[in-house]
Amino acid sequence: MTGEQIIFILVALFTLGSGVMVVTTRNLVHAALWLVSTLFGVAVAYALLNATFLAVVQVVVYIGAIAILFIFAVMLTRKDMRDQGPQMNPGWWAGALIAVLVFAGLFFLLQGWSGLSTTATAIPVGFDSISALGEALVSPNAYVLPFEVASVLLVAALVGAVYVAFNRR
């Protein structure tokens, strides 16, 4: 086992453990903080894949904005941070079944995939992944359409939020 694999396994265990804590802890703010550590684990996984841009954006967007928003929402809407009542709803077995089926399906699909057993080619020295990403996002041959559609969607959400919050005099 190489050092990278050991680090990956540790990070994956950390991420999964935090994920389990998110859904099992009864304190809602603690759940939000465990969510932060889960998202951080995902960021580390991106960093291990040499996707530094995605890793940093993961921290900026998910920890810096979304997790903070969660914490705010929980703090401002709940008087009691402890969640009472059962943690499972009656349909838990259906959810578990679907999860197991999806996992099994992915497992069988990926077993036949040749990409799983080949090692990735090393990134050439001096390769600027971030400008390649930037060019792909605005190049008509690559992802300009999804990128623009997502932008329009976000602008629509922004306009909607301003419209809802706007105080007519």
Partner: protein, 392 residues
Amino acid sequence: MSFWNDPLKVAADWLLGIFNGWGMNDLVAQILIGFLGIFILVALLMVLDIFLVWVERKVVARFQDRLGPNRLGPFGLIQPFADIIKLLIKEDITPGGADKVVYNLAPMLSMMSVLILWAVVPLAPRMIGVDLNIGALYIIAAGAIGTLSIIMAGWSSNNKFALIGAFRQVAVMVAFEIPMLATLLIPTILAGSMGFNAITEAQDIWFFWIVPLAAVIFMIAAIAELGRSPFDMSEGESELVAGFNTEYSGMKFGMFYAGELLHAFTFGSFWAILFFGGYRFLGLEKVSAFLAIAVIVFKSFIGYWVIMWVKYTLMRIRIDHMLGFNWKFLTPLAFVLLMVVALLNALLAGTPQWIYVPVMFLANVILGLGALEIARAYSRRERAKVEGVVTT
């Protein structure tokens, strides 16, 4: 001579030789040397932090026309050590009903969010922790962790003043991140890279002379991000006791305080790197790496001094004014500036420097003055409205 040019590599090779001599594996030795490097950098920063306490107190004394610490040692230089001993022997209080783990984690995260910033600071041409190709975004990501530490501190203290302080501070930090991000993109456009080393190398002419308005906006956003006066609503001692760190005592408070000082110095250094050429000064950086470090420390202190100058000159702004100023003035201005710079940079590509620099500079000045004029006209209208109500 190579030691004076690239001391880190020489030292690392020397250590590697010693470790290999002990029969250590190459990989283990590399990891050990990496950790040693981090340890030395952090230790130096913490020592600098002690010194910064003294600098801050002396400078504020100067601004307020008093002497500052002057009893212990020459110029009161031993005062910060006395302060540290005092903080260490203070009773460590955990408030009743506090969330212990989160409460103790918050000061550590606060300090960490500052220290990790130094991973991307280029101290000399080849002395940089990691030359990340997304250095500019990395600052924002570290700031996100700082925001998190403040909300953790405010919430876990089980104190309403701490929580209100944390809410205010987080509202300010989340808001001022946006103009900061927009101004960080401007040196990125000019240098063609987000890495700090590349940005420094691109500054044959300081970016301050090309985009002065961006430097000013970055400084304002940085001061807000630091939570220093005039943006220190989070501490607002006249109404909130001490804001988010009300319940912290002893060295835990010391961590927040030291973190804030080092954060201010760090942003002084980012200001220097982004707009004032970083470690470059008249070719001194080519002579020796140590001179380059001296240059960047000196420039960082100037940035730090500007932050202190603003802090001890201006009064605190009300929270709604502060956020209004950000969302209605600074953010639109930063985005307009970003578009203008991007457009002009593309239009003027290939023109000689004596055209490029003055045109960029003038565009910035005109944009800044125009924005101020719009703001002034608006405030005049508002004032007329209020005064009209008062007189009738």
